[in-house]
Every structure is written in C-alpha cells, then in structure tokens.
Amino acid sequence: MIARIFLTVLLSGVLLYAWKEYRLSPVVAFLSVLASCWGLYFVWVPEHATELAHLAGVGRGVDLILYTWVVISLILLLNLHLKLRAQMETITLLARSIALTNARK
C-alpha cells in the first residue's frame, strides 16, 4: 500500500506539472497526462498491467509500469529541451537588440 501511495503522489505530481506546462507545449502536456494516467491505472489495477504485459510480451506487469515510467521520463526530457529552446529564443532577442542598437550608434 505504501508503494501505491508513493507512486500515486509521484504520478499526480506529473499531472500537475503537465497542467503547468500546457502553455509552453500542449502536445507535451497531453502526452504527460496520457502517460501518467496510464501509470496511475496500472498502480491501482496491477492485475490489468500483468494481463496487458503478457499480451505485449514484456513479462510481468511491474515491467510494464517501469516502461511507463521510462516513457514519462523521456517526455519530461523533451519538455526540458523545449524550455531550453524557449530560453535560447529570449537570449537571441536580447543579443539582437544589443547588436542593432550598437549598429545604429
């Protein structure tokens, strides 16, 4: 039960994060919500995870949950990449403004 509550809190955190990140990238937010809901479902209905894991050929249900977690991590990594891009765009605007101001002096 402790593990379930712990995972639920973590996945709920991902859901909140996805809601917060919706403005930056709706696609990433949607994928995060999808993956975390998928994860929550498996945490609370693990027998379905095992059945699905057998169907998918990944062995145990816990493996499927692990894979889901890996997918969530990759999505968050993609979001981090997008944030870095957004920061680079800000730096670009700043550098351009400095360059154009100096050019007109």
Binding site: A86, A99, L100, A103
Partner: protein, 224 residues
C-alpha cells in the same frame, strides 16, 4: 530606383569575407554584414571592405544572423533584400537575375535554384541530401520547389516583413519556406550558379546537420 540591400551572415570568415564584400559592393549594392560572434576579426575586415557591420555579442547561428540582417535592412529603408552566403560560393551576377525576376513576375520572393542553374563541384552526397530535403519540404509545406536549402534569395520589403525566423541554426532554410507558404505571397524560382570550393565544402552542412535540422523542426512544431 529601388534600394537593394544584400544581407550576409558570417561566422569566422575573415579569410574570405573581404573578397566577397568588395565584389558585392563593386556590383553597386549596399551590404549589411552580420558578424555572428566571430573570433577572427571578420567584423573589422568586412567593415574595411565597405560593409555596414552589425555584431552579435555571442554566436547564435545563421538563421538568427539573417533575421538580424533583415530587420536592420528594413530599418535602413530597403525596398529589396537579398540574402547572400559569406563563403564565396554565390555569384554577384545572379543578384541582378533575382531582382529582374521579382519585377518581371511581380513576385515577393525570388528563390535561387542551383538545379535549374548550375552547381559547380558539388559532391554526390550533398546532391542526394538536397534532393531529400526537397522531398521533405514538399511534404511539409506543399511548396513545389526543387532546391530548398539555397541561401541566395531575394525578397521585397513586403515579403521580408512576413519573415520572422525563430530557428537560429540551419533549420531556418526550411522555416523561411514555411513562412513564405504561410504568407500566401507569390514566389518564383530563379536559376543561379553555386560554385563549391574546398573552403565552402568544409564550412557547409554535413550529414549530421540534416538530422539536427529535423530535430529542430520537430521541436519547433511542438512549441507555441
């Protein structure tokens, strides 16, 4: 008489930039050179050769440099803006062809096309990559072009005001086509000649750059 401004983006091109700028100035054109954070004195060399130089405090990439040049050219009252490579692979004589094509066809964009003109000493790998880029652009923009990554292009003031490059690096070449398609303005392809040298081949795009372009375009499509 239209004011024509040639925008050149340069990064560490001190070896060749004087020759390129002098040739363009000798053709009767005003040159804006955007030094993209070079560390080899490119800005000073270009200034002495007759260019109006604008310097990025840090290296941002060719796309960012071109956007800076376009914005400065518009502020300087340009009627027509031509983007031109710094590595000496473009020919000044082609600028007149681009300008004439804009006028004759009442178009807002004239895009250089090396496959309609000439590509001297182009490697087979580059030809293959450019063909792949052409197919990709057709699929993603619907534009029926045959040379999609050619840096030699001319645009009217109206056309330039529709361009706002956000891809700092090489993906800008695809982004500009997306923006041309989105503007709904008329464009034409014009035969130009690109002469590759050992220098320009060394500075040019590599296979890995094309993957970086795809990643950049994908990441951009996820952003607002």
């Amino acid at each position: 008489m239209d004011t024509v401004v040639i925008v050149i983006a340069a990064y560490n091109e001190a070896k060749v930039i004087a020759g390129v700028v002098r040739e363009v100035v000798a053709g009767g054109y005003k040159v804006i050179l955007v030094d993209d954070g070079s560390r080899d004195g490119t800005a000073d060399v270009a200034r002495q050769a007759g260019a109006l130089v604008v310097v990025h405090p840090v290296n941002l990439g060719q796309g960012a440099a071109l956007q800076t040049g376009i914005e400065l050219a518009l502020a300087e009252g340009a009627d027509v803006i031509v983007t031109f490579d710094a590595d000496g692979q473009h020919h000044v004589s082609d600028i007149a062809n681009l300008l004439a094509a804009l006028k004759t066809n009442a178009a807002d964009f004239a895009l250089g096309n090396r496959f309609m003109g000439g590509a001297v000493d182009m490697t087979g790998t580059r030809r293959l990559l450019l063909r792949a880029a052409t197919i990709f652009t057709r699929l993603t923009t619907g534009l029926r072009l045959t040379d999609t990554h050619n840096g030699l292009r001319a645009m009217t003031r109206r056309g330039a005001s529709h361009i706002g490059l956000r891809q700092n690096r090489m993906a800008h070449a695809s982004e500009i086509l997306h923006q041309i398609a989105a503007s709904g303005l008329k464009f034409i392809e014009v035969p130009v000649t690109i002469t590759y040298s050992a220098y320009s081949r060394a500075k040019g795009q590599k296979l890995t750059d094309f993957f970086a372009i795809l990643i950049d375009l994908f990441a951009r499509s996820l952003q607002r």
